[in-house]
Symmetry: C2
Subunit: 139 residues, 2 copies
């Protein structure tokens, strides 16, 4: 993990939104069907690819990228979760490093909502086909 990039993204997101920025959790322990001895793991490679790509973007981040250990979607990893205060949470699966650009675009659209509900037509294909489950906002 590139700690400095992750910290920068987190700080930018916090600064942008006054602390209510959503989070893109990435399962870094996911094997995605690979051998347990493969290093770095598929989930770690996805996480690092996301952090690197976010760092290269010109605009300040509107969401955080945070590591998670297991999102309990092991049969359809790699997995990420989008969540934030007052928003619906979504878990997506069937992801890999080719998903990076679409994931960042989808997370940006999610961050632009107040409730987490992105219109269907604006969702990247990986979100339409790879949705695993969603959770209503905590009340």
């Amino acid at each position: 993990m590139d700690q400095s990039a992750s910290s920068a993204a987190r700080e930018a997101a916090t600064s942008e939104s006054g602390g209510t920025a959503p989070t893109l959790h990435v399962c870094v322990t996911c094997l995605a069907g690979e051998d347990r001895e493969t290093v770095p793991r598929a989930g770690r490679r996805l996480h690092d690819g996301l952090v690197d790509a976010l760092r290269r973007q010109a605009d300040p981040a509107t969401f955080r990228i945070v590591e998670a250990e297991c999102l309990s979607n092991c049969n359809r990893g790699c997995s990420v979760a989008l969540s934030g205060p007052g928003r619906w949470s979504y878990v997506y699966g069937d992801l890999n490093q080719t998903s990076v650009d679409d994931l960042l675009a989808g997370a940006s659209r999610y961050a632009a909502t107040t409730d987490g509900l992105v219109p269907w037509r604006e969702r990247p294909t990986i979100f339409r086909k790879g949705v695993i489950a969603r959770v209503p906002p905590s009340i």
Copy 2:
């Protein structure tokens, strides 16, 4: 839906915990493989069974039961989600009306935690086998 029972459960949960009680969302639109014309739907029957059973319990509820429309787990419904401020959220599937007692027991154990992490051995079998995904707490 039995509105009075649901309201009573909600009020009890709120009173118990100072407003931080977790929520058991139940997808009431789930067909669970049944014909679309079947009324009430499988998800609605599960919801109503949970509300009725919670009402019969002697102890005050420590969690709310709230209706949801689609938890995006249609292939493995019926579905519920457990969530609450500061807690991991969990989505469970493969549920039906025989799951009611175990669901209430599992939700009570979840409500007794501060982070949503119930030790593996204390989780009902339906939670161990039917977990669909989980989401870290919002930060």
